[in-house]
Assembly symmetry: C2
Homo-oligomer: 226 residues x 2
Amino acid sequence: MTTPCIITVAITGSVPTKADNPAVPVTVSEQVESTHAAFEAGASLAHLHVRNDDGSTTSDPDRFARLIEGIRAHCPGMIVQVSTGGRSGTGEERGGMIPLKPDMASLSTGSCNFPTRVYENAPTFIDWLAERMKAHAVKPEIEIFDLAMLFKAVDMAGDGRIVAPLHVQFVMGVKNAVPVDRETFEFYVRTLRRLAPDATWTGAGIGRHQLTLHHWSLELGGHLRT
Amino acid sequence: MTTPCIITVAITGSVPTKADNPAVPVTVSEQVESTHAAFEAGASLAHLHVRNDDGSTTSDPDRFARLIEGIRAHCPGMIVQVSTGGRSGTGEERGGMIPLKPDMASLSTGSCNFPTRVYENAPTFIDWLAERMKAHAVKPEIEIFDLAMLFKAVDMAGDGRIVAPLHVQFVMGVKNAVPVDRETFEFYVRTLRRLAPDATWTGAGIGRHQLTLHHWSLELGGHLRT
Ligand SMILES: [Zn+2]
Ligand SMILES: [Zn+2]
Ligand SMILES: [Zn+2]
Ligand SMILES: [Zn+2]
């Protein structure tokens, strides 16, 4: 049995700025352009963050609206996934773009440490964000930075807070969260199969670890993200 | 090769109050008395929280000082371990009792969700608390509520922030953190053996899960906590 492979492009993360790399697309038109190039090259899913004009991160729904509209116009059929990650705001503004009805949105089902801070997703916030996604028929991509987030997502799918089947992404290599570790990756996949056999999944490595996780995901039967 | 078994007693947790259970020892003299009873019954390590007179949690160093003094007087040779857990304060007051030089203190090497909130241990706070323990020759018991905390502890032992060998406690069954799961428990033990072969460890289950973790720890060769 084979599952079609989904090639994802994350054109703009939440961390790099033009000062780090002048090629990072920051404005909405730059983002649409580089998403379109990836679409032409075969990417079928775009993972989206937005920035202010000065390059700082934001969750501004207007920027998201223009970006989604641009991608829908230029990349027909491409899956549009928005980030609700904590770097782009605190509290409920992180879910302000959900009513735009992107195809998918990221959802972290727990808290953990990041390089210099706590990545906070309190239990009530997770429930609020999941409910908003359910209300707007947005499919969550569960971002797993640590093991408890996997158990929590399975729980939420079990009682209907998240519409099953789960789609999860195992993220490795963020300092102070779970590192790039093959045994752990295999344990993640094994545990997901045990607890949510109908779930789909992918692996994501941060920075120089992208290719490693890409290869591990292919080997173990997951979907891809580039 | 066998390792002697350490029977631990946690006479007063951070959650239950006299309203839940009138038998919970709250005052310092009640705590000394019930620790002494456990000591007579064979417990060799006391894990300590302190309370205010109204039963609310605190990290007050004066209370800790009286409790430690009482136990040292009545239970000669017993290992005294203090809790630096987040329920009893926020920020640096959580380490205010370290200069009292208890034998051990708990140290959580990461953040995760607890039943109704984020259990926050920011990277800088962890370093601060570990350094304070090192300066006062207090042995940390690493409290592992999620997998990333294990990797972080190994890192810190590797660069000397924690004095090796590590002693860790795998805590299972706190809602929203890692639940009681046998496969995960075995993975924890296997991973610790792979990354820190000289480490010692124990398992702890919350509430009704105490006996389960107790038995799993015995089976897999860990130390005990009751
Ligand atoms: Zn694939
Ligand atoms: Zn992202
Ligand atoms: Zn033992
Ligand atoms: Zn405790």
